[in-house]
Amino acid sequence: MTVTPVFGEFLGPAGDHITAAVSFRGELPYDAQCGVVGQLDRLVATLARYLADLPDEPGLARRPERNAGTRNVAARLALGRAAQSLHHAAVGMADAGVGRVHPVVGHLSAAADYLAAGRDLLQTHFFVDPAGSRTDASYWAPVITSGPVTAALLAELADYARNLAPWIASQSGARRIGWGKLTSAQLALRSAEPWLQVAGTAIQAAQRAHYPLPARTLLAAIPANAPPPRQPPIPGEPVRELCERTPVTAERLRYAAFTLTNRARWPTTTSASWRRDALASAITSHSSELILRTLAERAGQLGLEADLQAQLHTAACGMAQAWKAWRAVTDWWDVITTGHPRGARPTPIAIEIGDLALPTGRLGYRNPHWAPAYGNASLIRDPAGLAEAPGDVITVLAAVHHAADAISRIATADHAAVLDAAGSQLYVPTRLLPENYDIPHPYAPAPRGYADALLAAYDTAIDATTHITTALDDLATAVDAPSSVLAAGRQASAAARHDQHRQQDQHWASPPHVLAPVPGRTEQALRKLQIRDPALLLRAAVIDQAAHDLVAEATAKAHSRDRVTRSISRSMPGIQRRAAGSPRTPADQPAGVASQDAPRAASRAAHQGPSQHARPDRPALQQCSHGPHSASHR
């Protein structure tokens, strides 16, 4: 069965290839050393790109979630330095024998390929506009930017760096040429190794400090943002195949729901599609109730935990509420319509949602050829026929969970579209209205009460569907069903959305700020002092980066104030005249304006003597914050 690739299919092999590469303990021949440098160059550059993808914006307020860009600045700088060292050497070796045939080089090359492909997969979930702003392109996007998934990604990256660094160290001095000198490849490895070591430590520290609960399973389950191929149900399929088919159909519907919500609102959709969605939701939920009741009975027969039986029974009751709520929605669509425009086509959801109702019905009923027609009606399945072994209970439960989750997302999408239409595009056939309506047209605007009742029915259905989805989330998590990833994704996505709302005034999704490619003032000072300790050099680089960010933030704020001031001046001539006749004060200058935001205590402290500057625990940032000013006064 063809399915969409998931991130784990790249993550796992990448780690395996790195492990295989670093398990080599021998002495690499020269051409293999060159090959290693070339592939490490690619690999480290890809790791750096992963880190650079994390949002990062100067001046961003503290956030519990996804502020990893700022938090990982040290790691990014260290990886950047490692990449620089390797890249210079790799470019020089481009025409030399690259030793691709050596197994170690092959492993590193494969790891770089897998990691690059995995990053591409994650990027499919975002749109990037020409200005560099990133927006969600799928319902997975908020999952990817959530704290737990960020944590898992950081943990993986840290592992890679920490695995590679000691091996590189062992290789960088292993072979000497002639007069005891190192080869150029070894020099490159020796130069990169400490930075990679520091990067690994910094990434791990950032992950542990800010993202304590990595969700590796969820990270690995992230699919490429492309719907899997459609798989129409085949009559006669056994339970296991029906259970395998349902998540695929559900994923296609989830994809379509996101697309419709974000790109194809009314008027391209008609009530016929919404009516069909509600109908299929009612039928699917009705079958799902039967399935859950049968599973509860089977759990008892198999002697499974009483808690599980109770939870299944409760879920069945919740599902009954859901299908009744959807039935009420279909009742309202019996009389309300958007009209029957020629050429209107059903939505992709309306076309395919039947693919969800059929396998669910075939799971619920005994007839393997079941269809929603009188002639295919059937008795409910025997419990043992639905789930022979305890593991089958979980498999079937996962299928029901996937179906409910898809219905939940479709409900949200349809409700939003119907809400849009409720203002002026809902009608009733004139023939269905009481005789005192004298309207010379086949359709009349839906009476206000009709539209309100329809929307209220949707609200009830969404509440019921949300309730049952949450119950199934808990159930799937409790039994570690394959569908528990849906629950984890929903939680992660909710946390990310909550955080995003809190930060909506700040453009967190702007392009990551550019890390200084060359050593800054502080780092240069250390290098002049012949300091080679990567830890010290990294601290210096962080200080330079912080100074760079501070100046960028202050400049942006000053420009913003200037624009506001000009705007006020234009609208208040009195101020304009006074400003025109007055000399410009230092506070009017951009830096002066920016400094007005600085805490006065900090300003006083800056004048209290050198002892205030020389605190060993926080010397860097304090000193660097004065650096640009002192430079400008020289």
């Binding site: 929603p372 027609a373 009606a377 059937s378 008795l379 086949p442």
Partner: protein, 140 residues
């Protein structure tokens, strides 16, 4: 127990309709009667829930197909069609709906051939297709 719509009355109206407006008028009422009967039955037998839900939906499709037809009268020429219905179980209702839907399908297919305007023709064709679906859904 449910109520069988007066399928024979509706079938008679369909047969006796001598003009396109009369045929469309009777067809619209027949679809509406099928919808109501299916809704009445859908909760009676769990195993038939989906079948009757689908039937009601197909009846709405047929009714919606006819609504914009230029030749459809804006008001119904008859009383509500299930006023004199008799009690029946789900299987009897299904049989009655199958027969009525078959009559609808045939009458609308014929009307589509005879319709003068493209809009009337298209409406009849779409509605005939919906009636055919009801036949399939309700056939035991």
């Amino acid at each position: 127990m449910n109520e069988v719509p007066t399928a024979s009355d509706l079938e008679a109206r369909l047969r006796q309709a001598s003009s396109l407006p009369e045929a469309l008028d009777a067809s619209f009422d027949a679809f509406e009667a099928i919808r109501r009967a299916a809704r009445d039955c859908q909760d009676q037998v769990p195993e038939l829930f989906a079948a009757f839900m689908m039937t009601a939906d197909a009846a709405v499709d047929g009714r919606e197909a006819l609504t914009p037809a230029p030749s459809l009268p804006l008001t119904s020429g008859a009383e509500p069609s299930n006023a004199g219905a008799a009690p029946a179980d789900a299987s009897q209702v299904a049989d009655a709906l199958t027969a009525l839907a078959a009559a609808l399908r045939d009458r609308l297919t014929d009307a589509a051939v005879r319709a003068d305007t493209p809009d009337d023709r298209a409406a009849c064709q779409d509605a005939a297709e919906a009636a055919g679906r009801i036949c399939q859904l309700m056939t035991r």
